[in-house]
Amino acid sequence: MNTNDTRLYFEQARAHHLAFKARLRAYLYGSPADDTALRAPRQCSLGKWIYGHALPLYGDLPGMKALESVHNRIHEQATELIDLYNSGNKDRARAGLADIEPTAAELVDLLTQVERQVAGDAAPGHSETFRAFGELMQANQELERTVRAYSDAAVSEQKTLYEVLMQLPAHISLLMGDTFVFELVNPPALAVIGGRDVIGKRLGEAFPELEEQGFGDLLMQVYRSGEPYLAKELPARLNFPDGSTQEYFVDVTYLPFRDSAGSIVGVISFSYDVTDAVRARRRIQESEERFRFMSDALPNQAWTARADGSLDYVNERTCRYFNRSEEEITGAGWQHVVHPDDLPGVIEQWTRSLQTLEPYRVEFRLLCHNGEYRWHLGQANAFTSSSGEVKWYGSNTDIHDLKTLQDRLQQAYDDLEVKVRFRNIELERLNLELREKLDGK
């Protein structure tokens, strides 16, 4: 060991001593700590340095015995102060810190004295042993630091993972063994099951109703096959202690849980409560079904269109009228059944309404399944939902007979005027002829 090594070695001892004093002071000022290392001379860091390293190496040096003795004394003084503090004499205990200082100074002097003796020892064998010991100690410390760093990182990682699992909005449970004993249930899952105590219980014991609904079989399937199980909107019924029953819909993922050797030791369950979404969608579906039922019962052709004007639904009557499928008519398929002479005007009117959202109203001819074009009145209104989505609801009413009758009436009216004029002329001619005959007589 060279001079620098020696200095560092003893600096370490002095640092241990300073740390001891700081911990003692902290204890006496209320910082909770284990007082064993403050009381027992062999338990503190400096004690370990003295008894573990220094005495075996330098026990024959004159200062070492004195150092051991002073070190014991300072611990005796510390023990007295701790006892005073614990018996309620806190101020006296704190004041006693000053009494330790002379002993502490004596200890530091002795450390310096021994350091000098070590530095002045020129025995090569002794120095070699010391150096080897120092290197060993350094390597040991590095190893300790590395292990502690890995250990701290692993603990931290585990802690983070656990916190993430517990905070995820998904329902997470870990069920161990082939009887599926609950080992972990995160708070969202606990909230769903009403906070009932399930940890340590088997699935069939904690939730007999889930066992009855086949969830146990699904878990067993994953446990035995090692294959994940995924399902969407799985209905699950839970019974509650007050006798009530609640039905849920969940998206579930069951994954095999393996130990470090890769053997399946349980099943991890992830599930999301999608009950609200399923119910909302069902309400919409029911509403759509009611709308379809109503529109199919209508005597008119009924249809709906998107904001871009493409039809997305036609009722059954429309399909029958054209003898075409819904797929053939929806989109822009309806344009194939509009009379070619009427189509440009219809498109113009429809485009205008789509742009302005004003009611659509047009008379046009539609090609019936028997090949006849019949006049229809097409009407539609735009409905804008709270989310701003525009939907058109329309109908086509057969006005062919009415329209034909109107045309005939108009024709008859036009003809009548001509006929009256024509008859008047003829009457005038006859009148003239009669007058000429009378005048001739």
């Binding site: 024709q411 001509v418 004029r421 024509f422 008859r423 002329i425």
Partner: protein
């Protein structure tokens, strides 16, 4: 169905073998056309059939001061026996071919709806 513009009606449109499809006796005065079943119109001449045949002459008269409709005047031996306006002339295509429909309104109040098939 195609209406022929009354101003563009020619003698060719009028000529042909016409059958009476329907009649409306709007007036009280009887005429030689009241009970005809067929009228065959050729350039300048016509032949009507109602059990017995009658033949005569005809001409188209147009005036645009009071009545815009073309008028058909029918004569027998130089004597006018009928005067009618054309109120409608239309052509209809069907599976059976093209049918022309001519509506004549006579000064007596008689209205005849005549049909003829293409090339007749």
């Amino acid at each position: 169905m195609h209406y022929i513009d009354l101003n563009s009606i020619t003698e060719e449109h009028v000529c042909g073998h016409w059958e009476v499809f329907s009649r409306a006796l709007g007036g009280t005065a009887a005429s030689v056309f009241s009970d005809i079943r067929i009228i065959e119109i050729r350039p300048g001449h016509y032949r009507s059939v109602n059990g017995k045949e009658r033949t005569g002459e005809w001409q188209v008269v147009r005036e645009d001061r009071i009545i815009y409709n073309p008028q058909l005047k029918f004569f027998i031996d130089g004597q006018q026996v009928g005067n009618a306006i054309i109120t409608r002339l239309l052509s209809e295509r069907s599976a059976g071919g093209c049918v022309h429909k001519l509506t004549l309104y006579f000064s007596t109040g008689l209205e005849l709806l005549l049909h003829k098939k293409d090339n007749s």
